[in-house]
C-alpha cells in the first residue's frame, strides 16, 4: 500500500514537473542560444507569457479548412503528453512504467507526427503541404533508426521497457561501451531531427519555404497555436528525458525509497541543464543543411544504430 502511494506520488510529481517545466526548458534553450550569439535574448519565462497571450487571443479558422481543423493540434498534443508521461524522468519504478515500452513511445511520436502532418495538409495551402511532405521523408529514416537502436538496448538490458533499460543501465554492469557510443550518436541525430532543431530545421527561422516543423502550423492561431507550441515544448522535454534515461541513468531515484528522491530530482534538473547547454552550443556552431541532405544525415544514424548492435556481439564476452 505504502509503495503504491509512493509510486503514485512520484508519478504525479513527474507529470506535474514535466508539464510545468517544459516551457521553462524551451525558454532556457532560447536564452542560452541568444547568449552564445552575443545577444541578450528573451527572458527565460517568455514561453509562459507567450502561451498565456495565445490563449487570450481569438482563434481563427481558415474558410478552406474542414471540421477536423481543431482536432489535429489536440491529437499532436495528446500523443506527446502521453509520451512525456510514460518516459521516466527523475525516478524509476513509476506507475506508468509497465506501459512505457520503447516501441509504444516510438509509436506515440509517430502519432504526433501524423497529426501534425495532417494539420499541415488541412487548409490545402502550399506551405503546409510542402512541410508535411518533408516531414514524411524525415520520419521514414528517423523511425528506422530509432527502431534499430532498440535492438542494441534490448540486448544489453534484456528489457524493452524504458524503465527496465534505465534500471539495467544504472546498475553499471555495462560500463562504457563502443556500442552505446554509436547508439548515442545515432540517437542524438534522430533527436535533433525530430525536435526540429538545427541542422535539419531552424526553430527560429522566418522563411516559410525553408520551414519543416513550423510550416505545418502556419495557419493555426490562438488557443490551437498554443496547443501546438506547447506540444513542441513537450517534445523537446520528452526527447531530453529519453536520452537522459537511456544514456545518463546514473543517480536516478528509486520510487520506493523516498530519501533518494531529492538527489534524483536535483540530478535530473542538472542533466536537463547540461543537455540544454549542449544543444545550444551545437546549434549555434552549425548551419542548417539542405533538405535533401537530411536523409543522408539520418541514414548515417540508421547505419550507426546497426553498428551498435554488431559491436555488441564483438564485446559480448567482455564481462566473462
Amino acid at each position: 500500500m505504502l509503495s503504491f502511494a509512493l509510486a503514485f506520488i512520484a508519478t504525479v510529481l513527474h507529470i506535474a514537473l514535466c508539464f510545468m517545466g517544459a516551457p521553462l526548458l524551451m525558454g532556457l534553450v532560447n536564452k542560452l542560444r541568444a547568449w552564445l550569439l552575443g545577444r541578450r535574448g528573451p527572458p527565460v519565462l517568455q514561453p509562459y507569457r507567450h502561451l498565456a497571450k495565445l490563449l487570450r487571443k481569438s482563434t481563427l479558422v481558415p474558410d478552406t479548412a474542414t471540421e477536423l481543423f481543431a482536432f489535429w493540434p489536440l491529437g499532436a498534443f495528446l500523443a506527446l503528453a502521453v509520451a512525456t508521461m510514460l518516459i521516466p524522468g527523475f525516478a524509476t519504478g513509476m506507475l506508468t512504467a509497465p506501459a512505457g515500452d520503447y516501441v509504444t513511445i516510438v509509436g506515440l511520436f509517430a502519432l504526433a507526427r501524423a497529426a501534425a502532418m495532417l494539420g499541415g495538409l488541412e487548409t490545402g495551402f502550399s506551405f503546409g503541404g510542402a512541410g508535411a511532405a518533408r516531414e514524411a521523408l524525415f520520419g521514414i529514416f528517423a523511425e528506422g533508426a530509432l527502431l534499430v537502436l532498440l535492438l542494441a538496448f534490448a540486448l544489453l538490458a534484456q528489457s524493452t521497457s524504458l524503465d527496465g533499460i534505465a534500471t539495467a543501465f544504472r546498475t553499471a554492469h555495462i560500463g562504457i561501451s563502443v556500442s552505446l557510443g554509436f547508439a548515442l550518436a545515432a540517437m542524438l541525430t534522430v533527436a535533433l531531427t525530430e525536435t526540429g532543431r538545427i541542422p535539419t530545421d531552424n526553430p527560429s527561422g522566418h522563411l516559410e519555404l525553408a520551414m519543416v516543423h513550423e510550416a505545418m502550423g502556419l495557419e493555426y492561431s490562438g488557443r490551437l497555436l498554443a496547443l501546438l507550441e506547447f506540444a513542441g515544448m513537450l517534445r523537446l522535454l520528452a526527447w531530453m528525458n529519453l536520452i537522459g534515461t537511456i544514456f545518463l541513468p546514473f543517480g536516478m531515484a528509486r520510487v520506493a525509497e523516498i530519501f533518494s528522491w531529492p538527489g534524483g530530482l536535483a540530478l535530473w534538473v542538472g542533466k536537463l541543464l547540461v543537455m540544454a547547454v549542449a544543444l545550444s552550443v551545437f546549434e549555434v556552431s552549425r548551419a542548417k543543411m539542405r533538405v535533401f541532405r537530411v536523409p543522408e544525415f539520418l541514414g548515417a544514424a540508421l547505419l550507426l544504430g546497426m553498428l551498435a548492435s554488431v559491436f555488441l556481439f564483438v564485446a559480448a564476452r567482455i564481462g566473462a
Binding site: D63, F77, G124, G144, V291
Partner: protein, 557 residues
C-alpha cells in the same frame, strides 16, 4: 453426407473418395476473419452477383478442406470466380491475373501430394505466395485488386490473400512439420521483408487510391509473412517464446488487416461512386461533403499506418518484439540480418504512415481539386452499414488486443504445440486514460485562462492574395498534389529502389524476361507447326531412338 471421425464427408467430389470437410481452430480463425468481410461486401452491393458467391464458396471450401482435392478445388474455384470478377472490371490485368492463378495452381497441386520435404515447402511457398502477393511475385496484385467493383476488391485484399496465407500456414506448420528446416523460416522472412519495403514504398508513390491500397496490402502480407517466417524459424530451432510471439504477431495482423483493408476498399469505391475518380490528384476536401465516410476512412487509415490506439499497432508491436527476440538467438550474420530487418520494418512502418497521411490529407482534407470532389455527397446506406460494421469490429482489436490474443491461443497451440505466449506489454486502455487526463488538463487550462469561440476567416497562406471569384476553392495547383507530396520520397528512395521510370523491380526482372521467354516459345511453336512431314518424322524417330537408348542403358547398367 456422413461423418467420419472429426471430419464430414460429402457425397460428391472425386469418385470413390468424396470430399472431406474439417473444422479446426485454424480454419475457424480464418473463417472468422472472412465472415465480416463477406457480410460487408454483400451489404455493400455484391449480393446479386453469382460469381461473387462462387468466389465466397471457393474460399470457404479451401478453408474447410480436409483433403488435398477439396483444398485445390476450393482454391481454384476461388481463383476462377475472382478472375471473372476482375474481368468484369478491367480486361487488361485479368490476363496477368489468370497467369498467376495458373502458376500458383501448378505449384500447389504437386506440392499437396508430395511427401513432407523441402521441395514440397518450396512449391507451397511459391504457389501460396504468388496468390498472396508476396514479393517477388507481387506485381500482379496492385494491378488486379483495384480492377473489380469495390466489394470484390475488399474481399480480394482482405480475404483471398488470407486464404492463400492459410494454405501456407496449414502446410508449413502442420502438414510438412516433420521435415522442417530453419532456412524455411529465413526464406519467408526475406520474402516478407522485401514485400514490406516495396509495398510500403509504392503505397506512398501511387496516385490512384485503390492502387495505393493494394500496394499497402502487399506490405501487410509481408508483415504477416515475416511473423510466420520468424515463428517457423523459432519452431525449427526450438525457441518456445519466440515462436509464440511471432505467431501472435502474424495472426493478429491477419485479423486486423482483414478488418481495416476491406473498410478502406469499400470507402474507395464510394469515393469513386461520388466523384467518378479515385485519383488523389483530382480529390480533396471530401471531409466536407462526406463526413461519415471521412471518419470511417480515418479509422481505417490509422490501422493501415499502424498508429497507437489504432487496430494496426498491436501486431506491429508484437512483430518488433519478435524480431528483437530472434536477433538474440543467432550468430553474427543473423544479428546483422535481423538488425537490417528491424530497419526495414521501421522504414516500412514510417512509409505506411506517410501513405495513410497522404490518403487522408490529400483525399479528404484541404481544398477540392475538381468540381466533382467539391460536390460529393455522403455514403449510400449499404456501404455505410458495411463500413460501420467493419469499423465497429476494428475497435476491440484496437483497444483490447490482449483479450483477442487469448482467443488466438488454441490456434497457436495447434501450430506450435510447445509455444509460450507472454502477456502483451502494450496497454491501449492505459494510454487512452492518460490521454483523457491530458485532455482534461488542457480543457481546464483553456476554460480557466483562455477565450472561447472560433472565427472563420480567409486563410493566411503566407500572405498570398485571394483567388479570383471564379475559382471558388482557389487554384487547385497552389496546393500540394499527390505526386508532389510523394516527390521527396520518390527522389530519395524511389529512384534508388524503383528506378527513374517508377516500375516495380519485379516487373523489370521477372515479368519482362518471362515475356521474352514467351515470345521465344511462340516462335519455336510456330517453327514446329511449319515443319515439313520429313522433319516431323525425323523428330519422332529421334525421340524413339533416344528412348530405346535410355531403356537399353538403364537395363544394361
Amino acid at each position: 453426407m456422413r461423418v467420419v471421425g472429426n471430419s464430414i464427408g460429402l457425397m460428391f467430389g472425386l469418385p470413390g473418395q468424396g470430399m472431406h470437410l474439417h473444422l479446426d481452430a485454424l480454419s475457424l480463425l480464418f473463417g472468422c476473419i472472412l465472415l465480416p468481410q463477406v457480410v460487408a461486401a454483400s451489404v455493400a452491393g455484391m449480393r446479386a452477383s453469382v460469381a461473387f458467391w462462387a468466389f465466397v464458396l471457393g474460399m470457404a471450401l479451401a478453408l474447410l478442406a480436409a483433403d488435398g482435392f477439396t483444398l485445390i478445388f476450393g482454391f481454384e474455384l476461388m481463383s476462377a470466380a475472382s478472375w471473372l470478377l476482375v474481368m468484369q472490371g478491367d480486361r487488361k490485368p485479368a490476363t496477368l491475373y489468370a497467369g498467376v492463378a495458373i502458376f500458383s495452381g501448378a505449384c500447389l497441386i504437386p506440392a499437396l501430394f508430395l511427401p513432407a520435404s523441402s521441395l514440397a515447402f518450396v512449391l507451397v511457398a511459391l504457389g501460396a505466395g504468388a496468390k498472396a502477393g508476396l514479393a517477388p511475385l507481387h506485381s500482379w496484385l496492385p494491378r488486379a485488386h483495384p480492377a473489380p467493383p469495390a466489394g470484390v476488391s475488399a474481399l480480394m485484399s482482405g480475404g483471398m490473400v488470407k486464404v492463400a496465407l492459410y494454405v501456407l500456414i496449414r502446410y508449413a506448420f502442420i502438414n510438412l512439420a516433420p521435415a522442417q528446416q530453419p532456412w524455411w523460416g529465413e526464406a519467408l522472412v526475406a520474402a516478407g521483408a522485401l514485400s514490406v519495403l516495396i509495398g510500403a514504398l509504392r503505397a506512398v508513390l501511387e496516385v490512384e487510391l485503390k492502387t495505393a491500397l493494394a500496394c499497402s496490402t502487399v506490405e501487410h502480407v509481408g508483415l504477416i509473412t515475416v511473423g510466420l517466417g520468424l515463428a517457423l524459424y523459432a519452431k525449427a530451432i526450438g525457441d518456445a517464446e519466440l515462436s509464440g510471439v511471432a505467431l501472435q504477431a502474424a495472426l493478429l495482423c491477419a485479423v486486423a488487416h482483414g478488418l481495416f483493408k476491406p473498410l478502406l476498399f469499400i470507402g474507395a469505391g464510394e469515393v469513386k461512386h461520388a466523384t467518378g475518380t479515385t485519383s488523389l490528384n483530382w480529390l480533396g476536401g471530401l471531409m466536407r461533403g462526406m463526413p461519415r465516410l471521412g471518419a470511417l476512412m480515418l479509422l481505417g487509415a490509422a490501422g493501415m499506418a499502424a498508429l497507437p490506439l489504432g487496430p494496426g499497432f498491436a501486431p506491429e508491436f508484437l512483430l518488433f518484439h519478435a524480431v528483437i527476440g530472434a536477433a538474440a538467438t543467432g550468430g553474427i550474420l543473423a544479428r546483422i540480418g535481423f538488425s537490417a530487418l528491424l530497419a526495414v520494418l521501421g522504414i516500412g512502418a514510417a512509409l505506411a504512415l506517410a501513405a495513410a497521411v497522404r490518403v487522408i490529407g490529400l483525399g479528404f482534407l484541404g481544398r477540392p481539386r475538381s468540381l466533382h470532389a467539391a460536390a460529393a455527397e455522403d455514403l449510400r446506406r449499404g456501404p455505410f452499414v458495411a463500413m460501420a460494421l467493419l469499423g465497429a469490429l476494428a475497435i476491440p482489436v484496437a483497444l483490447v488486443p490482449g483479450l483477442l490474443l487469448d482467443l488466438l491461443n488454441p490456434v497457436i497451440m495447434l501450430l506450435a504445440p510447445e509455444a509460450q505466449t507472454p502477456p502483451l506489454a502494450y496497454a491501449p486502455v492505459t494510454l487512452l486514460i492518460l490521454a483523457g487526463l491530458a485532455a482534461l488538463a488542457a480543457g481546464f487550462v483553456q476554460t480557466r485562462w483562455g477565450v472561447r469561440g472560433l472565427r472563420e476567416v480567409p486563410a493566411w497562406n503566407g500572405g498570398f492574395g485571394r483567388p479570383p471569384a471564379w475559382l471558388p476553392f482557389g487554384d487547385p495547383h497552389t496546393q500540394a498534389s499527390a505526386t508532389g507530396f510523394a516527390e521527396p520520397v520518390m527522389r530519395v528512395m524511389g529512384k534508388g529502389l524503383l528506378g527513374a521510370g517508377m516500375t516495380d523491380p519485379a516487373e523489370r526482372f521477372l515479368l519482362t524476361p518471362l515475356f521474352r521467354v514467351q515470345t521465344r516459345l511462340i516462335r519455336l511453336a510456330e517453327r514446329v507447326r511449319r515443319a515439313t512431314i520429313r522433319e516431323r518424322l525425323a523428330f519422332v524417330f529421334a525421340v524413339l531412338v533416344a528412348f530405346l537408348l535410355a531403356l537399353g542403358l538403364g537395363q544394361g547398367g
